[in-house]
Symmetry: C2
């Protein structure tokens, strides 16, 4: 296992030029003559030389590494986003360094420290909140942060979300139009802006049509908690006839409980609506009506915001909300007169 690293100096020697010449050949935009470039590239090719990104970063101050902090990967929304983020950044010559963190403990601070040790050029947090102290540290280190799919009041923090309030409202309107009278909500984690906004929008939407929430339980974005909530809510005789679940991941658990434990028909007995539109929601086994978070556009906005900060320097802080459509499928009763535009 010969550990033979080829350096620019060896290439220079072989090509009979200076080390700086080699460096310039591999630095886009530097001034080099064609024949010099040819000589160097030939030597580099023969020796198998490639510039050391880490050494380069020491000089340039850019590592071309983006730190991604993420809590869950079992909710399909996040691997999907990770894949898209990674592809988008890869196209710009950046790569993602992954940091898993549990949302409940305060390991976030520790992990963030490690993150900064790697001199990342930027940070994306997916479904993770930032403490004030952390935000300050990142600001002091000059590392831009974008919150993906989570909002926070701090004026220093960029964020990209769907329009969660409006999304909740749309769902309320849809369920009301469907003639549902007794409506439940198994909410997203109340410790998250997404969870709170969806709930607030949903309540507002119901209020607009003279309805109010019959029962509301915090599902914490966890399958088992949501499942238990479903049992609690729908075991009663005078159970609700509709439920909006704070994200698809929980909605699947809720549908499983309704259909296989409580032997209820969806949507005959209960209409179920989720939030996210993960790929699984479109599979016939669930065929879940849900509000789509346009992950493509969210990723796009995240990447362009982050690269803007990194490559152009200080920018305006972005608080981007992207509107998403309600994907009407088979898990909720279709209101009279609504076009059946099932997808």
């Amino acid at each position: 296992m010969a550990n033979e690293k080829v350096t620019s100096i060896e290439v220079a020697k072989k090509a009979g030029v200076s080390q700086s010449a080699v460096s310039r050949v591999f630095t886009p935009g530097a001034s080099v003559s064609p024949k010099m470039a040819e000589k160097v590239l030939k030597a580099a090719e023969e020796l198998g030389y490639r510039p050391n990104v880490l050494a380069r970063s020491l000089i340039t101050g850019r590592s071309r590494i983006i730190g991604l902090v993420v809590a869950y990967l079992d909710n399909q929304f996040y691997p999907d986003a990770l894949e898209k983020l990674s592809n988008a950044l890869q196209a710009h010559g950046y790569h993602i360094l992954v940091f898993m963190v549990s949302n409940d403990d305060d390991g976030i601070d520790k992990v963030m420290g490690e993150l900064l040790d790697y001199q990342v050029d930027g940070i994306i947090t997916a479904s993770v909140a930032m403490s004030n102290a952390l935000t300050s540290r990142c600001a002091a280190a000059g590392v831009p942060v974008v919150l993906f799919n989570r909002g926070q009041d701090d004026v220093r923090l960029n964020q990209v979300t769907s329009d969660n309030f409006e999304g909740g409202r749309k769902i309320a309107a849809f369920l009301a139009a469907g003639g549902h009278k007794k409506i439940a909500h198994i909410a997203g984690w109340s410790g998250s802006s997404t969870g709170r906004d969806r709930e607030a929008g949903f309540r507002a939407g119901l209020r607009e049509v003279g309805l109010e929430l019959s029962v509301c339980i915090d599902g914490m974005y966890k399958r088992d908690i949501a499942a238990q909530a479903a049992r609690d809510i729908f075991s009663a005789k005078d159970r609700p006839d509709a439920v909006f679940v704070g994200n698809d991941h929980m909605a699947f658990a809720v549908m499983d409980v309704l259909r296989f434990e409580l032997k209820l028909d969806v949507p005959g007995d209960v209409s179920v609506v989720g939030y996210d539109d993960v790929p699984l929601a479109a599979w016939p086994a669930y065929d879940l009506t849900t509000l789509r978070q346009p992950s493509n556009r969210m990723v796009e906005a995240t990447v362009s915001t982050l690269l803007g900060w990194i490559e152009e320097g200080s920018q305006d802080v972005q608080k981007i909300k992207i509107d998403g459509p309600l994907m009407i499928r088979g898990s909720a009763r279709l209101p009279e007169g609504w076009p059946d535009e099932r997808l």
Copy 2:
């Protein structure tokens, strides 16, 4: 956005000691007196100093970065593995740099080049094959490689898989015991060792009990291709009464087609068995009988192999096969006398 990096020199100045002293305080196992450590740590604390991992790597030759090359993240098996790998490596002070790659084109070579540019200490490939040239380059660079969930003949490559051949055999025995006579296989991609081994084991298992495969189509590990295969196979009047699908991800698509397009009962009309045991397989909507790939143990083996190479230097090449149990659930007919140990 003040870009103020604190260096060991500034800490040294503040603490009234040399830069080397600061370095030693932050280098585990170095020789420092308690009072020196105290002074330095105090100064570091006040300035918010943290060692620059990249600069350190230039000296030590270790980046504490592991490159992960992965093709799919829509098959739940991989995000699950990614999460576990990341957690395990994080516990050892390593982190994962993600590289997405499509399996069909030859972007793998390009991506691998970028990978090595980052001076990664090791590489894990998940469901991705290595070309000979690549293997040589990694060997030359002294970077150990572990193939996760894929095998390859090259004697230089470590690999961790489940016992795919034996797994295929177990499934054959199970379906045969269930009295199935006409058995189909929608195989994993024939370009992958996992796909080939599972199919070979399955065929061998059938042969042992005097059966043979009725029909076999390569599903390429893709949902849509598997779905089309299911349509082709099960539309006929004399359709098979059982199918082994090369992984769970495809098996879900197959079940969807069987139940919702062809209106067949599973397992009444057709028994379906998958491979992987991703979390979704246990959800009641699918309740899929499947051969479990013990991802915990596979991750453990992967990490310890990799760290062995990195921290102890050259080792024996490991070709690890981990045996997994058949998870008996509701998607396949239960043979008489078999304990119903549904999980």
